[in-house]
Each structure stands twice: as C-alpha cells, then as structure tokens.
C-alpha cells in the first residue's frame, strides 16, 4: 500500500498497519515524504511509481485546500479553477495508477466568512467543498479503480471538534486527532477488505430486547415493545427498518433466539407493528439449545464462512459465549440502551461492500428456496432421480453489460469454490469480456423451486492455438452437488473442441478457504502435470453426466 498525504501521515500509517494486523493483513506500506502528493503522482519515475502499490491511499486535507482557497482571489473563476484543478489531479491519479486508488473526501470546514449565505453563493468554501465531494462520487462512475474513503461521513458522525485537534495540528502538522485515527484507518481497511473479498454477508439476530422490547414468551406477541405505542418501541422499529434495508441490499438475515419456535414466530406473523416479516428471514432458529451451536447450524445451511457473519444480541453473556466458541464471527458490544443501538452500529460500518448489483436483493429468497430443496431431496432415495426432478436449466453467456456487476461481485465474494481466487472489479471484467485472448463464460441455474441467478463463472486464457488455461473458475456454494461442475466442464470442452484447442490446463491455488476444490480437477478427469496443475485432453473427453439443460 502507498500512503500519500499533504499533511503529516506518520500516525495514520501506524494506525493503518495496526488495523491491518487486526484484520489479518501485514501491510507493506510505502509512505511518501511529507507533502509530496503531486510530485510523487505526476512524476512517472518517482519512488511511488517504482513501488507499484496495489492500493494507493491519498489523503489531501480540507485544511490545506482551505488554505489555497483563502489565498485565492474571491472570484467565480478563481474558486472554480481551484476545484477544477483538484479534480483534474484526481483524474490523473486514477489514470496513472495501476492499482486501486482510495481517495479521502473532504470533511467540511465552515469558515463562516459568508455566514449561512454560503449556501447561496458558489464563492463560499462550503459550497465548493460540498460540490467537490459530489464530484468525487461522480468520478467513481468514470474510474472503476477509484474508491472514496468517506471521512466526511465520519466527521458528520463524530463532529469536527473530535476529528481535529488544534494542538496536535499546530505542533505536528497532523490533521487528525489521535481518537479519530483508528476510525479513519478502519474505514481505509474496510474498503481494502471488501475488495479482497473479506466482508460481512449475513446478520444473525437475537429477538427479545434486540429486535423488540420485552420477552415474547412472557409478554405475548401483542405486548412486546415495537412501533409507536408501547414503551420504547420506536427504537426497535427503527432498528428493524435498518435491518430491512440491509436485507433489501442483499445481506442475509437470520434469527437465533432462545425461545419456543412457535412463540418466537408469532410477532413476525401477527403483530402489525413489526417491520420485519417471516419472508425477510432466510434461516429461523429458535430453541433452547446453546447459541453457538445454533449459529453453527445457521452456518451449515447458508454455507458461508463465520468471518462473514455479524451476530447481534443484547445479552453480554450470550455474546461472550458466542465470541468464545466462534472467534471468527463479529459480535458487536451493543450498548445497554436500545435507543443507542443504531448510532453505535452506524459507527462500526459493518457492511462495507466493493460492489452492488440489483440481483442482490433476491438473495434471501434464494436461501429460503434452498431450505425447501433440502427438504425435497430427502424424499428421493436415488440422487439421479432427485436431480431430474429439479428440472434444472442454465443460461450460458459471455460477459455482458448486464451481468458484469454480478460477475465482478461474485469474483469478490467467492472464497470456497474458487480455484485461483483472482479478484476482478467491474472494469476488469468488462475488459476481459472484450479481450480476444480470453473466452469468458457466465452460468445461471434455475430449477423448479426458483432462480439462483448467475452462480458460476469461467475465464479461459488462450495460451496458444492449442492450449486453454483456466484463469478463473468459481461457483456459488448455493449450487453445490447439482452436477453444475460437470455441466460447466462440458460447456467449456465443447467450446475448446469447436475452436480447435487440444488441451485445457487447470491450476489450483490453495487458500485458507478453498480446500473444498483441492481435488476439483482430478475429480473431473484432469491428469496432474505439475504440483496443483492439471491437464485435460479435449479430443478424448467424454461429456460428463448431468441433468442440466442449456438455454
């Protein structure tokens, strides 16, 4: 990582390294000399460019911008030029940087020169700073490698007097207070972790005094506190609204509660004040067993890592038990007062993401249908009969403008069924789709229970006229054990044969999470040719058995 700033950044560097360690990364950090942002970026032979960072973090402060603004003449042309120059610099930064750019936006400083009339004149610094932040968001639409570290939002949350410490600034040229540093560093690492595929996908909720006030088993579904009538119900309503938004964004919501199941479900089914309903919940576990075991059950049904789960419970004892038994899961220390839940949760930024596609919102439904599928499978004694009964159909396509966001997103999320774990952004996927040196495939899978959407991606690199190399093969774990691997291989073998290729080379790169595909290639009939490298002879390949129809 490279860190460039126009104020002293030594403490920020230390904080980023520290938070990096907390998240399991040893950050190799290049720190430019103080106030060399422009020189390092614009000079192609600079130390910064030599370093070749995967992530470039640039922190140009509002403070220094205000200084330039203050020295400028107060004319429309003057102030607009200043901002235009700054934006042009960010463009150049994105264009000349190989890796990803994480650019800090501008927390406002209200210099009160125009009073509140600042809102009515372009000349004011307030107007220009707000506009600049808006323009930065616009730039991300143009540059896929640009990510904004929203420290303006942090300042909104905690206040300027907390973010900025004048005595620290005067004696060290450092713009951030010591208290702010861990939060700012954390926001930087949030972005990096999300791009690297480490982020939260699932929220598991306790019920009594977490989702509603009171104990449903004692109080009854009519008397729990939720909505605008009873007690502090409003706090729980707003909490539920937040959860609902997360669900709509594609976070999987699960319930894990110590309750009788029928009692626990009653509020969701009968209480009109409840915002959350049964169909918002992907997995519902309510019993009197240990919560850690119940969370393991949720994990098995959803088939995602513990490190992608957040567990919310008002009871410190339950939190401690879960944390102790499942160290990877994130268990926030909810404040005692439910009225404080939301503001506290906002401060943690638990659900960072590096991409979003509109298909995300259907995820809950997909997990619910998966639960039905599991029940149905139990009725068949013969696996082939069960497969046939599913009436599976797959749409096979290259990368299109429509599926690119989903492909990129899946490349960032897939950890287990992922042979080489190469992460791609939207921009890179679009470029691969156009490349004549690659053949790209996306697969959907639909069956009689529902549509899983896009669930598998293969990118083949044309090594020479006879050889295809499997650069990428990943699949959503939702569709394991449906013969999708066989279908995928049949499809790419057909492609290879039609285009005159003689062999397909596959490589397995082990990670902590992809052990399930260690034997993927040998299982599919590939022959080992080197360590973790396998070859398939296209000419002698016989299509493998599967019950999926190509569309």
């Amino acid at each position: 990582m490279a860190l460039l700033g126009d104020t002293a950044t030594q403490f920020l560097a230390t904080a980023i390294k520290g938070i990096g360690v907390e998240r399991g990364y040893n950050v190799n950090l290049f720190e430019a000399e103080y106030n060399q942002v422009e020189r390092q970026v614009l000079d192609p032979t600079s130390d910064y460019h030599q370093f070749g960072a995967k992530y470039t973090v640039v922190f140009q402060s509002t403070h220094k911008l205000l200084e330039q603004y203050s020295l400028n003449e107060l004319t429309n042309e003057g102030v607009n030029d200043l901002m235009r120059e700054r934006l042009q610099f960010v463009r150049t930064l994105c264009e000349t940087t190989e890796g990803k750019v994480i650019y800090f936006n501008y927390p406002e400083i209200d210099d009160t020169v125009f009073g509140q009339y600042a809102n009515r004149t372009e000349l004011s610094f307030t107007w220009q700073a707000r506009k600049l932040n808006y323009e930065l968001m616009q730039l991300t639409q143009e540059y896929p490698n640009l990510f904004i570290c929203d420290i303006a939002a942090l300042q909104n949350k905690f206040g300027r007097d907390w973010m900025f410490d004048s005595s620290v600034y005067v004696s060290t040229e450092m713009i951030l207070s010591l208290d702010a540093l861990p939060y700012v560093a954390s926001r930087v690492m949030d972005i990096i972790c999300a791009i690297e595929g480490k982020f939260h996908k699932c929220l598991i909720l306790d019920l009594d005094n977490t989702v509603w006030g009171g104990v449903v088993g004692d109080d009854g579904w009519e008397n729990i506190q939720v909505g605008h009538g009873l007690g502090i119900g409003k706090a729980f309503t707003e909490f539920q609204e937040w959860v609902k938004k997360l669900k709509n964004r594609g976070i999987i919501i699960a319930v894990c509660s110590k309750n009788d199941e029928d009692k626990a479900k009653e509020p969701f089914e009968k209480n009109p004040e409840m915002v959350l309903r049964m169909d918002d919940i992907a997995v519902f576990v309510a019993n009197w067993e240990n919560k850690a075991d119940n969370i393991r059950t949720v994990q098995q049904i959803l088939n995602i890592g513990f490190d992608s789960m957040v567990f919310l419970d008002d009871n410190p004892v339950e939190r401690a038990i879960v944390r102790e038994n499942i160290p990877a899961i994130c268990v926030p220390e909810l404040p005692e007062d439910p009225g404080d839940y939301l503001e506290y949760l906002y401060s943690l930024n638990l659900f960072e993401t590096a991409s979003y596609s509109s298909g995300d919102k259907d995820r809950t439904k997909q997990y619910q249908t998966e639960a039905k599928r599991v029940q149905s499978a139990q009725k068949f004694t013969n696996e082939a009969d069960f497969m046939k009964s599913l009436e599976m159909v797959s749409v096979v396509e290259g990368f299109t403008a429509f599926n690119t966001p989903r492909v990129a997103q899946l490349s960032q999320r897939s950890n287990q069924f992922n042979l080489r774990t190469v992460r791609y952004t939207d921009g890179e996927i679009a470029a691969l789709g156009e490349s004549d040196k690659h053949a790209c495939f996306s697969f959907t899978l639909e069956d009689k229970f529902g549509d899983n959407g896009l669930i598998c991606v293969v990118i083949l690199k044309k090594k020479d006229a006879e050889t295809l190399f499997v650069d990428t093969w990943f699949m959503s774990c939702r569709v394991l054990k449906r013969g999708m691997e066989n279908f995928t291989l049949n499809t790419i073998a057909d492609y290879a044969r039609e285009h005159g290729f003689k062999r397909i080379i596959g490589e397995y790169i082990p990670t902590l999470k992809n052990g399930m595909v260690r034997e993927h290639y040998p299982n599919l009939g590939f022959v080992p040719i080197a360590e973790n490298t396998y070859e398939l002879n296209v000419e002698t390949y016989k299509p493998r058995e599967c019950y999926i129809v190509k569309k």
Binding site: F11, S167, V170, S171, T172
Partner: protein, 78 residues
C-alpha cells in the same frame, strides 16, 4: 494535587505510552534523556496526559516547556 503525585502519574504515562518500564522522570529530564521520546511520541504523551488529568494544554504551553519540571508546573496550575 501534590506535585510529587503528579510527577509519579506522569511517569506512569510515559512508561505506558513509550512502552519502557525503566523510565525515571526528574524535573530536569528532557527529550534528550529518553530515547523513545521524539516529536511523534511527544504528541501521544500530551494527549494521554490531557486525558488522564482531564485538562487541555494550549499550543503555546506545549511549545514552551524546556523540561519535565515545567510540564509538571503547568499541570499543577490547571
């Protein structure tokens, strides 16, 4: 608070922030006497002292101290 008491508490803060249990502070101690005490750790020390005693130094005060004794005087005067 007694001046000696302040000195003892400041010494604890120095040991904690600089991660060195052997630091002994005297009125005459300066940054030259303690290896880990540089311009960066200085600011960490100041913020830690401010939090501990629930006081706030002015920038001018921070720049004016020549040794630990003057810092202690400043804390005592708050």
């Amino acid at each position: 608070m007694e001046r000696n008491q302040i000195l003892a508490e400041v010494q604890e803060i120095f040991r904690d922030v600089l991660d060195n249990e052997e630091i002994e502070l005297l009125d005459a101690t300066t940054a030259d006497d303690i290896e880990e005490w540089d311009s960066l750790t200085h600011i960490q020390l100041i913020v830690a002292i401010e939090k501990h005693f629930k006081i706030k130094f002015t920038s001018k005060e921070i720049l004016s101290w020549q040794n630990i004794g003057q810092m202690i005087d400043c804390i005592a005067s708050k």
